[in-house]
């Protein structure tokens, strides 16, 4: 299945949204776990999903809701801890979960979202819908017990789940090389009885294609797929991290930034297909910048939560003792 021109534009727009959003975050006084460099993997995967499909994400949570189509204002306001934030200022940088676009959770417990995504797939199967659930997780999470347990559960019950590993090479400062017995996480799929696919995570179109295949398979009831997108984190794990012993070289970072930028790669392939002009893309980028500027303004002008509301949403149905 190939994308229509409007879908290409939407894919490009969402990638630029993540990039511009994150560039804006860098200028703000907030802690951020930035997705710059991983836009191709995130948006390529999300474009293969329907609006009513589910995703779960990770502590690097800004990109996933944007990739799934979330509005930027509540996300930016959340980063500033404002009442208008998507989580009312209770989540922050590691938890930009927007349920309205199907984000069931962004977990700061590494690997914590994998069972939740499996459950969203289980729910779709029990309810008899053809929704699918896509679970974003990193190379670090693949060493948690929830990875193996959930992969097995999904395979046993042929759940409509796509296990999508954003392998950016590093769990904070620990490289895949130093934490995995063999570097290709997708190879583990065979041990659980499902297909495993490796894809260049910097090539959004390639990511879209393999995810789309996995989605079709899941919707048909043929079960889960493990996709490993080899990607790269251009920025540090998060702000204010005191890295005294370098874990990756500046040469390595420069190589990825200058030759492996997912937006550059996608832009080049779009222009090569002659489907779009540079002007079309520039227009989208300009629109996105305005959108991000408006989100920052909205976030900055929004009020902080009222401390009197700190207990709000502890329970859905608190007990009324007066009754």
């Amino acid at each position: 299945m190939s994308l229509e021109k409007t879908e290409h534009f939407e894919m490009y727009r969402r990638m630029q949204r993540i990039r511009c959003f994150e560039e804006a975050v860098k200028t703000l006084e907030v802690e951020g776990h930035l997705s710059i460099g991983q836009e191709g993997a995130i948006v390529g995967a999300c474009m293969a999903l329907r609006d009513d499909d589910f995703i779960t994400g990770t502590h690097r949570s800004h990109g996933h809701p944007i990739g799934k189509g979330a509005k930027l204002k509540p996300l930016m306001a959340e980063l500033l801890g404002k009442a208008t934030g998507i989580c009312g200022g209770r989540g922050g940088s590691m938890h930009l979960a927007d349920f309205s676009v199907g984000v069931v959770g962004e977990s700061a417990i590494v690997g914590g979202g994998i069972p939740l995504a499996t459950g969203a797939g289980f729910s779709a199967q029990v309810r008899g819908t053809d929704q699918v659930s896509l679970c974003f997780f990193g190379d670090g999470a693949s060493n948690q017990g929830t990875f193996g347990e959930s992969m097995n559960l999904a395979a046993v019950w042929k759940l409509p789940v796509i296990f999508f590993c954003e392998n950016n090479g590093y769990a904070i400062s620990t490289s895949v090389e130093k934490s995995h017995g063999q570097p290709d996480i997708a190879k583990r799929a065979d041990g659980y009885g499902m297909p495993g696919v490796i894809v260049d995570g910097q090539d959004a179109l390639a990511v879209y294609r393999v995810t789309n295949d996995a989605v079709i398979r899941a919707r048909k009831g043929d079960g889960p797929t493990l996709i490993e997108a080899k990607t790269y984190r251009f920025e540090e794990h998060c702000d204010n991290l005191n890295i005294l012993i370098p874990y990756r070289s500046q040469e390595e970072i420069n190589h990825h930034v200058t030759t492996r930028d997912p937006i550059d790669i996608y832009q080049a392939s779009l222009l090569a297909m002659q489907k779009v002009t540079q002007r079309d893309l520039d227009t989208i980028t300009s629109e996105v910048k305005l959108e991000v500027d408006a989100a920052v303004k909205f976030a900055q002008e929004s009020a902080f939560p009222d401390p009197a509301d700190i207990y709000q949403n502890m329970y859905s149905s608190p007990i009324d003792y007066s009754a």
Binding site: C87, R90, S100, S107, G112, V126, T146, S316, S317
Partner: protein, 334 residues
């Protein structure tokens, strides 16, 4: 003397049936699964220990036997709860809740709050406390106090068949995560229970199991038969004990407990959990803070000491609270 073990509250148009505690566990789940097709049951070896009836009554779509992956099938239930189902997760033996505690605490209890109320997590975590039967320390935990420390969960410890049926059904209908701690020592206990399929006991309501005037004995979970036996003996001594069962530990029905202590002026709390940070400890703190002026004597806790549960029955039978311990604690504050 009203004893609700013999006389449960019942709706007029329904009769009662004599049910065991185990029957009540099974019937509550069956009725709720018949009532609402979004209720599903997941867990290990479901067909054993009472689940046979559920396996026979519903297809595999709604009753799913799980591989031994407690943390992930618990998380799977949580993910399903956020996306349209009302799962009951059977965590079999209470010591296994530690394995599932990451998903229960870090996800189920926190997600509604952390998402600013965007979602609900209507899920029930059932687990059985198998102790006093020579299973040694890794199968004999009574870990409800551990989970009382995690805000966002509701925690239930039913002590009678009627309470089990009414509370388990309320838990399934509740929109928040509810942990229900069942007690294998009560499985065979029988009582007349309403056949009303909407027989519900509200979460967060204590029950006065026996009215009295001289001392309040707060009994947690399966301590109840033993506490009632102790109160019989105390009655013969001329001491009228009021036996109060909180039934729900979170949220705690403080009002009922405080009112009872205000009436009697004396408090003994009996809890099978380990002493440190037990449910008894929390209740003692609540009463000390909010009803200190009602107390004529210091609060007494009767608990299991901070020792692991030994295998040998000669050793094991020495650790849990007994009738004699309760009587001794009451006499100490006369």
């Amino acid at each position: 003397m009203l004893d609700t073990i013999e006389k449960p509250p019942i709706a007029d148009k329904y009769t009662t049936a004599r049910l065991s505690y185990m029957d009540a566990i099974v019937l509550a789940q069956k009725e709720e699964m018949l009532r609402d097709e979004s209720v599903v049951l997941i867990g290990e070896d479901i067909s054993i220990y009472g689940g046979t009836e559920l396996v026979k009554s519903f297809d595999e779509n709604r009753v799913r036997n799980m591989p031994i992956s407690e943390n992930s099938f618990t998380g799977m239930g949580i993910g399903a709860a956020m996306t349209g189902l009302r799962p009951i997760v059977d965590l079999t033996i209470a010591s296994f809740t530690y394995l599932a505690s990451d998903q229960i605490i870090n996800q189920a209890s926190k997600l509604r709050y952390m998402t600013g109320g965007q979602i609900q997590v209507p899920i029930v975590f059932r687990t059985g406390m198998y102790y006093k039967i020579g299973n040694a320390a890794q199968h004999s935990d009574r870990p409800y106090p551990f989970f009382m420390s995690a805000p966002g969960l509701k925690i239930i410890v039913p002590s009678t068949p009627a309470d089990m049926k009414g509370l388990l059904k309320s838990a399934v209908r509740d929109d928040d995560p509810v942990m229900i701690f069942e007690d294998c020592n009560l499985w065979a206990k029988k009582q007349q229970v309403s056949t009303d399929p909407d027989y519900l006991i509200p979460v967060g309501r204590a029950d006065i199991k026996r009215a009295g005037s001289d001392v309040t004995i707060i009994s947690i979970g399966a301590c109840l038969p033993m506490v009632l036996a102790a109160s019989d003996t105390l009655q013969k001594q001329g001491i009228s004990a009021e036996v109060v069962d909180p039934r729900t530990l979170v949220p705690l029905d403080r009002e009922t407990l405080i009112q009872s202590v205000a009436k009697t002026g004396r408090l003994v709390i009996v809890d099978n959990a380990h002493r440190t940070n037990s449910a008894a400890s929390e209740i003692a703190a609540v009463i000390a803070e909010e009803a200190f002026e009602s107390l004529r004597k210091p609060i007494q806790r009767v608990t299991t000491p901070d020792v692991h549960i030994p295998f040998s029955s000669v050793l094991e039978k020495t650790v849990y609270p007994t009738v004699a311990d309760v009587i001794e604690a009451v006499n100490k504050i006369q």
